[in-house]
């Protein structure tokens, strides 16, 4: 069946900015505007503005919503207070990742979920199966806008638009009225920088996009595409579903076990498998790898060697624009080599040296 490609609700903005568009997860999205390296640098040093309208926005409302979500999510949504959000997973019966998502609690009976574009319909259908008379899940693809404002200048730019309303704290979400529309602003992101994710209806989103561009421009803001989004997230050691996470990779193997809450009685899909992995260790684990300047960069799918033995495979790799050498996440068999140990990966039939490193490649801000 041919894949149907949807246009972003912000497509007219991308066209006006001269973006180069590519199909991604069923969406026609900007891959870059002024150039990946310039966009990457702008986000690290000033600010970047990303269209994330393709990300699935799902609202879960009604009495018993919490109880319903508790039985589906790997991280316990009961831990969230009003206005808080956290990272979570929907896992299959083997503990593999169907999707990674952000879960925000707006009020005790009102939750907001942001899921991957490629999983939006699947997750929505899965949730709807759990709809009870008092629980409703809504949010169809293409009906809303989402954008991410990221970087050291993000707060200063957003504060000007909000005209005095206080910005939400890190990992929090709040509702605002902007340009006459209802807007959700979360202090989260996918770049390793301080920043915000802004969700709204389409007419309001178009106005916010224009306002952020105009306000941010004198401060060094650039509109950024999927290209820099990927290099930025990998430098921050953040996983991409479909590469670093998949139905065959558990959150514990991905090194993200702290987002799987087993200190609660409630069962959820894959719980027994995940309990076993947490107790007796997983057969594989995700490690960080750093290459060397002047060597070919690591890429998704390259095999990883310790001496003559292949111990795993690179799930994501990129030449790091900030560090000037290759960085990668690799899934390797356990016991895994320690940080600082020398490994090799194979590029076009030739071995290239790499050192085991923490998965967050840039120092934490």
């Amino acid at each position: 069946m041919p894949e149907l490609i949807s246009e972003s609700p912000l497509a007219s903005c991308h066209l006006a900015l001269g973006a180069r568009m590519i199909p991604f997860a069923g969406w026609n999205l900007p891959v870059e505007y002024s150039g990946l390296l310039a966009e990457h640098k702008a986000t690290r040093q000033a600010a970047g503005l990303f269209d994330i309208s393709h990300m699935g926005q799902i609202r879960a409302q009604g009495k018993n919503t919490l109880s319903c979500l508790e039985s589906l999510l790997a991280n316990d949504p009961a831990k969230l207070k009003d206005g808080e959000g956290h990272y979570s997973f929907i896992t299959n019966d083997h503990g593999g990742v169907i999707d990674d998502l952000l879960v925000y609690r707006l009020s005790p009976d009102d939750f907001f979920l942001v899921v991957n574009a490629s999983r939006h319909n699947e997750i929505l259908q899965l949730l709807k199966k759990h709809e009870a008379p008092q629980v409703r899940f809504s949010g169809n693809p293409g009906t809303t806008t989402g954008m991410a404002l990221q970087g050291p200048q993000a707060s200063a730019i957003l504060a000007q638009i909000l005209q005095g309303s206080p910005l939400p704290l890190r990992n929090h979400i709040a509702q605002f009225t902007l340009f006459g529309g209802n807007v959700l602003i979360a202090t989260t992101g996918y770049t390793g920088e301080n920043g915000y994710e802004i969700f709204s209806d389409i007419p309001t989103g178009l106005k916010i996009w224009a306002a952020l561009l105009e306000t941010g421009k004198p401060l060094g803001l650039l509109p950024c595409g999927l290209g820099s989004r990927d290099s930025l997230r990998l430098e921050a050691g953040l996983p991409l579903n479909g590469q670093d996470l998949s139905p065959e990779i558990s959150p514990i193997e991905a090194g993200l076990g702290i987002f799987v809450d087993l200190n609660r009685p409630r069962p959820f899909p894959g719980r027994p498998a995940l309990e076993k992995q947490k107790k007796s260790g997983s057969p594989r684990i995700c490690i960080g790898l750093q290459g060397q300047p002047g060597q070919p960069p690591p890429r998704h799918g390259y095999p990883v060697f310790q001496g003559d033995k292949q111990i795993g495979i690179i799930t994501s790799g990129v030449p790091s624009p900030t560090l000037g050498h290759g960085i990668a996440l690799a899934l390797v068999t356990t016991p895994s080599p320690a940080c600082g140990q020398d490994l090799e990966f194979e590029v076009r039939g030739r071995r290239v040296p790499a050192k085991v490193s923490p998965r967050r490649f840039l120092p934490k801000k």
Binding site: L36, L37, P296
Partner: protein, 125 residues
């Protein structure tokens, strides 16, 4: 997109400048633009014998690695060593300082290569 008249082009977006029995090869303006910022190149050693259409080099941007195919067969004479320290030359000057390698061509036969106008017609508008 710039496609100089004095060059021959492969459908896979390499250009060839014929100089007597040798040729210089690079990637086109369209190719460098589609790749975006080049950050790494792997070039052939001199003396290597290559057939037309064989993978002979790799050009990598932040996003991806792209194979470069030999537009004609021949023997590699030299590679552009400057690119290892400044791969961005490919983006800034694809038909000049961003050249990839020179080769002694097997024959003056450039079968399958396109003129500037024919190559330009294959590009998206």
């Amino acid at each position: 997109m710039n496609t100089p008249n004095d060059l021959l082009y492969a459908k896979s977006h390499e250009w060839l400048r014929i100089e007597k029995d040798s040729g210089t090869v690079g990637i086109t303006d369209h190719a460098q633009s589609a790749l975006s910022d080049v950050v790494f190149v792997e070039l052939p050693k001199s003396g290597r014998v290559v057939k037309q259409g064989e993978v002979i080099a790799t050009v990598e941007s932040v996003k991806a690695a792209s194979d470069i195919y030999a537009p004609v067969g021949g023997t590699i004479l030299e590679s552009n060593e400057t690119l290892s320290s400044d791969p961005g030359l490919i983006n800034r000057d694809p038909y000049g300082q961003g050249w990839l390698f020179r080769l002694r061509t097997d024959s003056p036969n450039s079968t399958g290569l396109l003129s500037s106008a024919d190559y330009a017609a294959t590009l998206p508008h």
